[in-house]
């Protein structure tokens, strides 16, 4: 084969002594190893930003923002109502998936509870039943009481709650991440802080 590959001025090995051939081989081996090293370096420099791009969504600290979900007057005391809003963190092309729904419970004039519709088990949309005062999940049968605490089924905790504040006549909630066990809407370490107050309120106004 080799005689076909010969080109003038290139295959200069023929005239060399065995020692010189060995030296040339070892030089080329060294150069090859060097080129592997070079490519490793270039590859690393190439890979770091690519991995950074890939992991971008995981690294971002998108904390969401306050969003008005309606006038306080729209929520009668003692009732729980479904409210839709456009996610404040939606992006171009999210389409209908950018919409969010939450359950707003007005406990008293100034006290609210705003629940994510996502079941604390696996995120399916819970439905409110005013007569039995329960939230029920269609997926695996999780149920919650009116104050969002766990009633029965597979969830290991109560419903996720959004932080809320009243500004003028508007009810604002802090929304961002889709609520899951790791990315809760707002509870921030102290979940369900409002439950105790709510329970007290209810027992006093219970129509016995």
């Amino acid at each position: 084969m080799t005689e076909f590959l010969k080109h003038p001025g290139e295959s200069g090995n023929d005239g060399l002594t065995p020692e010189a051939k060995l030296a040339a081989h070892s030089r080329r081996t060294f150069l090859f190893k060097l080129s592997v090293l070079l490519n490793t370096a270039v590859g690393t420099v190439l890979a770091v930003p690519l991995i950074g791009y890939l992991l971008g969504p995981a690294m971002s600290k998108n904390t969401g923002s306050w969003i008005a979900i309606g006038s306080v007057e729209e929520f009668p005391v003692g009732q729980t109502r479904l409210v839709d809003f456009e996610s404040p963190v939606s992006r171009l092309g999210d389409g209908p998936a950018a919409k969010v729904a939450c359950w707003v419970r007005r406990v008293s004039a100034q006290q609210f509870q705003v629940f994510a519709i996502n079941c604390a088990h696996l995120g399916c949309p819970v439905r409110w039943f005013a007569q039995s005062k329960l939230f029920m999940c269609p997926c695996h049968g999780g149920a919650y009481y009116e104050d969002g605490s766990r009633a029965s089924g597979p969830p290991e905790r109560g419903l996720f709650e959004y932080k809320y504040k009243i500004s003028g006549a508007s009810l604002l909630i802090h929304a961002g991440d889709m609520p899951t066990l790791a990315t809760q809407a707002s509870c921030g370490g102290k979940p369900l802080v409002q439950i105790e107050a709510a329970t007290k309120k209810r027992s006093s106004s219970w129509p016995a």
Binding site: P57, S90, D94, P138, C139, E156
Partner: protein, 510 residues
């Protein structure tokens, strides 16, 4: 004329020789196709692998055709499926072929795996072939899941939510993992785009490469011979034995063995076409709008069993179970040929293998069946759609009938059935009074327990009274009412409290 014919043949031969001298692939491929294989494996039991490959090709072709119209954007995907279903000639049929092809492919891959397992074909020297096969199964399931997301309807939306909720349970990295899966803080454009990338570029690339390696290894080691009881696989002798068997009984794979593969593949393709034609495409269900909460999301058929298992896990062990068991199962499948690479191959000599397949198949079947009718889910509309059977209202007092109204109004029927209608979450109430006393019912209703929420806050005392009075009339086919045995004893009393005068006080203190 004869001269013309000869000239045509001669020029065809010449063209072939030109092509082969440049390409150099036709002869080696022909030789590989006609390689000798032991006659005993030219069997109908050995046709599943090739059928899975044919289905993969069908999926690639139909997938490419769907991609001509499908719009992988969260805003438009659902609409583009409607266009495919209704506005493009035969668009519905292409969607149906791709959907049914996917179900058939998962099924055939599973059958292929069971056959290889029961025949001990994963043993030496085909360990790596099995391991690649396990990865191909996972990739196939990955295609099925990401394909379900492509539909981008309600089920896809909430399915992604379930996936994200499972990922959120991973310790420490739960939140970054959720964001990585969704491509952002919520399910949206980025989510569909990355699942599209997985479904169309990443997983198919890996799948095709993996299938190539899988088939290469099948050629390298030969198709396993039919197992015989007592014919032991040993690393020292197996390859020589296989070689001798091939020499002695070998037949060319193409055409002597391959005709069965071809017939089976044609039958499978025909079945896919028939299902696609008669049953049509899957969905899409409602728009991926999370504010439409009147929905009961469900995964596709091959994930129903997971959906069912997730309903039965107790909350305390659910997270560890979800995160650890899949890892163990996959690791177990991968290392199987390394720990059991030698020995008996025949199923008659491997009772544990047969038992494992039976138990796993039965479990998957039962959970899938349960997943089709989800007895653990409340039926959200039952309280308004299922009236109390008239026979349960006959000869009742006004109070008892009022109780029937309470039963209906408080959504009890969402979880409890009467006369076969209503939810299955809780026990049927048709003969509840023959199993529970009035006191037990009151306690259960007000305080809850087991899977039942407490209704103490949702019922006032008069509602409770009426409800329980109605329930007390439900005794099935005239069964005796349940009694509290201790009451009777304490009332007649002498056995336990011979000297206490205040028996009625004892009774009341219960």
């Amino acid at each position: 004329m004869a001269g013309l014919k000869q000239r045509v043949i001669a020029s065809a031969v010449k063209s072939y020789e030109w092509l082969e001298s440049r390409l150099g692939l036709i002869k080696p491929i022909g030789k590989a196709a006609a390689h000798p294989t032991p006659a005993n494996n030219a069997s109908w039991m050995y046709v599943f692998g090739s059928a899975a490959t044919v289905l993969l090709i069908l999926q690639v072709v139909t997938g490419i055709l769907l991609a001509l119209v499908y719009s992988p954007s969260a805003n438009e995907a659902w609409g583009s499926l409607q266009v495919l279903n209704h506005n493009i000639a035969l668009g519905w049929y292409l969607r149906a072929l791709h959907g049914w092809g996917s179900d058939f492919m998962v099924a055939i891959v599973l059958i292929h795996m069971v056959q290889v397992f029961l025949f001990g074909a994963y043993k030496f020297p085909r360990e790596l072939t099995w391991m690649i096969g396990v990865i191909l199964l996972l990739l196939t399931l990955g295609m099925a899941f990401t394909g379900q997301v492509m539909r981008f309807d309600q089920d896809a939306y909430w399915g992604l939510g379930i996936g994200a909720s499972i990922a959120s349970r991973v310790p420490w990295v739960g939140a970054p993992l959720v964001h990585l899966i969704l491509g952002g803080p919520i399910i949206g454009a980025a989510t569909l785009a990355r699942f599209f990338t997985l479904h169309v570029f990443v997983i198919p690339g890996l799948l095709l490469a993996g299938v190539g390696v899988h088939i290469w290894m099948t050629l390298l080691h030969g198709v396993s011979d039919w197992p015989m009881p007592g014919r032991i696989v040993s690393k020292a002798t197996y390859e020589q034995e296989y070689h001798e068997l091939t020499e002695k009984t070998g037949i060319p794979f193409v055409p002597d063995a391959a005709w069965k593969d071809a017939v089976f593949a044609a039958a499978i393709l025909f079945s896919v076409m028939a299902c696609a034609f008669f049953f049509g495409p899957f969905g899409p269900s409602g728009q991926p709008d999370p504010t439409i909460i009147q929905t009961a999301p469900k995964p596709d058929f091959f994930f129903l069993w997971i959906y069912a298992v997730l309903a039965f896990l107790p909350p305390s062990i659910e997270t560890p179970f979800m995160l650890i068991v899949p890892v163990l199962v996959i690791a177990g499948m991968l290392v199987l040929p390394l720990v059991a690479g030698e020995g008996e191959r025949h199923w008659a000599r491997r009772p544990i293998a047969v038992l494992m397949v039976s138990v796993i198949a039965l479990s998957l079947g039962v959970f899938t069946r349960l997943g089709t009718y989800t007895p653990w889910s409340p039926i959200m509309e039952a309280w308004t759609s299922e009236a109390i059977p008239v026979k349960y209202l006959h000869d009742r007092t006004p109070l008892e009938r009022q109780g029937a109204l309470v039963l209906q109004d408080k959504q009890c029927r969402n979880c409890h059935s009467l006369n076969g209608a209503g939810g299955l979450r809780g026990p049927a109430l048709d003969d509840i009074a023959s199993r529970m006393t009035e006191d037990q019912m009151i306690r259960q209703v007000l305080q809850g327990g087991g899977n039942m929420p407490a209704y103490g806050n949702a019922l006032n005392p008069s509602e409770t009274k009426a409800l329980v009075r109605f329930l007390m009339t439900l005794r099935g086919n005239g069964l005796e009412p349940a009694i509290d045995a201790s009451r009777k004893l304490s009332a007649s009393g002498a056995l336990y409290m011979p000297k206490r005068p205040n028996q009625s006080g004892m009774k009341n203190s219960h």
